[in-house]
């Protein structure tokens, strides 16, 4: 009374065929190139022995162009659920050895089935992209497959975190699936992402461009802002996904993985006082502030190399996960411009989706002036920051370190934007505009009539500065919770985080707001 051995043998054979993907030869070839196979990638991602595969026996059903005689193990994509840090995570890995990892109907259906499972179970999805594109033999079935994947990306957006790893080609329409996810990690080499490649650009416009300029990890990380992280190699990209997940909840109804310390330490950090240059024109490197503010200086810098005038990323403060949004005065004077507004706003909205408290560090002279900025739509882009902050219902703690002027003061989460706690350092300057500009408007006639207009303007500016270039005017009107020493920042923010963590804010129900895009 036992199951027929023949059946077990057949199952084992089928498993073996599936595991070999495009065949031993192709796998060996890949190995020679120093590339991991799709299965090796999943094995590296998950804790050993935890991967449950979905749809290993899937086969395509295409009867055209010779495909009817060709087997496509797993239909070119391996999908399933495994564990990372003891938490379940869904993942798919496209198998380039099977028909170039091209997407057919069943391939897409497997990805969608996995995403549906992840949505209902409330677990994150990691997609490892390595595909030549659409499976041309399947025609519009393939196109429809992409459409279904996109639809599910959107369905899952804001429900579970979605991470895309680009570890090979990801071209044309296929690039829109990663683009719809929360984070994109690209390997430094061997990966490209573009809509129209150099050949198409040449044919359509006559322009000669290189793949490095349009599709490389470097181009996307520094110029286009399409991706969030660059990893040295595949193993690095997978390690980075694990590290990213260590800050994220599994879904939108869970809290992020806070590791509250049993005893809050409320020590002063005198080094923070030393960081602040005496000259208000000398820039403060905000990375140094972050380094002192967060646990062990451990900060996951998101989109580090793009729009560097704003710094965003994940960290813990005395164990609690936070999203840090900080102006960087070392770059473009820390101004908000089109790109930095886009970068900041998207990050704020991600944190709000997944219950991650926001800590905002402000040192901003204003929005970036210039023809290109105005014509490029800085009004529309800058408005994203206001919209994102005002719409965010997670705990919001703002520290005004130094400059905070005009609309940019509001766009960096002032009390008016719903900040729960606003702290200012004694060197903070909070004003509607700079002193020189203000006196030119307020005292235009007096300055013109003066014997020495320049001297008069300077005197008036000094008066104005005295009054407004300090935090006390704003604090007197209740816009500031407290004025604190830089040395007290970490302990006060840690305390503030503890007591705003139970914050619950209900807004009027609606489908969604209409963020300016």
């Amino acid at each position: 009374m036992a199951i027929a051995p023949e059946l077990l043998r057949k199952l084992a054979e089928k498993r073996q065929t599936a595991r070999l993907g495009g065949g031993a030869e192709k796998l060996a070839e890949r190995k020679k190139k120093g590339l991991m196979s799709a299965r090796e990638r999943l094995a590296a991602l998950f804790q050993p022995g935890t991967f449950m595969e979905f749809g290993q026996h899937a086969q395509h059903d295409c009867h055209h162009f010779g495909l009817q005689d060709k087997a496509m193990p797993c239909d070119g994509v391996i999908t399933g659920v495994g564990y990372i840090d003891g938490r379940p995570v869904a993942a798919f890995a496209q198998d380039f050895t099977v028909g170039g990892g091209a997407v057919g109907r069943i391939h897409a259906q497997k990805i969608c089935d996995l995403m549906e499972y992840a949505r209902q179970s409330g677990i994150p999805v990691i997609g490892i992209n390595d595909s030549g594109g659409a499976r041309i033999q399947e025609g519009d079935d393939s196109l429809s497959g992409y459409g279904q994947v996109f639809f599910h990306n959107v369905l899952l957006s804001g429900v579970v975190p979605q991470i895309s790893v680009i570890a090979g080609p990801c071209a044309g329409g296929a690039a829109y699936s990663p683009a719809l996810t929360d984070f994109i990690i690209m390997t430094k080499k061997n990966s490209q992402m573009f809509i129209c490649g150099p050949d198409v650009i040449k044919a359509a416009t006559g322009a000669t461009v290189t793949m490095d300029e349009i599709g490389s990890a470097a181009a996307h990380a520094t110029v286009s802002g399409n991706i969030h992280f660059v990893a040295e190699d595949e193993a690095g990209a997978l390690a980075l996904s694990q590290r990213l997940l260590s800050f994220l909840p599994s879904n939108n109804v869970m809290d992020p993985p806070h590791r509250p310390v049993p005893n809050l330490t409320l020590d002063r950090d005198p080094a923070m006082n030393d960081l602040v240059p005496a000259d208000p024109k000398a820039p403060l490197d905000v990375y140094q502030v972050i380094n002192h503010l967060v646990d062990g200086g451990d900060f996951l810098d998101v989109q580090r190399d793009w729009a560097r005038n704003i710094v965003v990323g994940f960290a813990r403060i005395q164990g609690l996960v936070v999203g840090v949004v900080a102006n960087q005065p070392m770059v473009k004077a820390g101004t908000l411009d089109i790109d930095s507004s886009d970068k900041g706003a998207r990050f704020i909205r991600f944190c709000n989706c997944f219950n991650i408290p926001l800590v905002t560090l402000v040192d901003i002279p204003g929005f970036m002036p210039g023809l290109a900025q105005e014509r490029g739509g800085i009004i529309r882009h800058g408005a994203k920051m206001l919209f994102a902050y005002a719409a965010a219902t997670v705990p919001k703690i703002t520290v005004i370190m130094r400059k905070s002027y005009g609309g940019a003061y509001l766009a960096m989460c002032s009390k008016d934007m719903g900040a729960d706690l606003v702290y200012a350092w004694p060197c903070a300057e909070i004003a509607v505009m700079g002193a020189e500009g203000a006196v030119n408007v307020l005292f235009k006639r007096e300055i013109a009539a003066a014997e020495d207009p320049k001297k008069k303007a300077a005197e008036l500016a000094a008066d104005y500065r005295e009054k407004f270039a300090s935090p006390y005017e704003a604090a007197g009107k209740g816009m500031i919770t407290d004025v604190i020493e830089p040395a007290e920042t970490r302990s006060i923010v840690a305390l503030g985080l503890r007591n705003t963590l139970s914050k619950r804010e209900t807004r009027p129900p609606k489908k969604h707001g209409n963020i300016p895009l």
Partner: protein, 130 residues
């Protein structure tokens, strides 16, 4: 799949052994979480041939542009001076803040193209390095 004969207490059994790791060496364990930003690979912007030909040549002469519109406060190097990559070469004031300009690569200062007090547009060349 491997066929093996196993003898247990004098009785031979033929068994099929499935080699689960046959597709290559199984990575023994998931790589440990990488602490710190070390997992982020360093990148620098690839210059678009059409937009910024100035820095395209890695070793030829290159102009260092002002990253923003402002006023030149100081030129912090002299013609002929040898520069290490990342050396501070100039200071531009804009938006009530000094912005330091650094050498994008090692070289020598071939020419200084602006003077302290000059107004510069974003992208205007400040120095040429060879």
């Amino acid at each position: 799949m491997k066929k093996l004969r196993v003898t247990v207490e004098g009785k031979a059994y033929e068994v099929l052994v499935e080699l689960l790791d046959d597709t290559g060496p199984a990575p023994s364990a998931a790589p440990a979480l990488v602490a710190g930003p070390s997992s982020l690979a360093p990148v620098s912007a690839p210059s678009a041939a059409s937009a910024a030909p100035k820095l395209a040549a890695a070793n030829g002469a290159a102009e260092i542009p002002s990253p923003l519109t402002g006023k030149v406060v100081s030129i912090d190097v002299k013609v002929g001076q040898t520069l290490a990559e990342g050396a501070q070469v100039a200071t531009v004031e804009a938006m009530k803040m000094n912005t330091y300009i650094y050498a994008p690569r090692a070289g020598t200062v071939a020419a200084v193209l602006v003077n302290p007090g000059d107004g510069v547009e974003e992208g205007a060349p400040l120095l040429r390095i060879a």
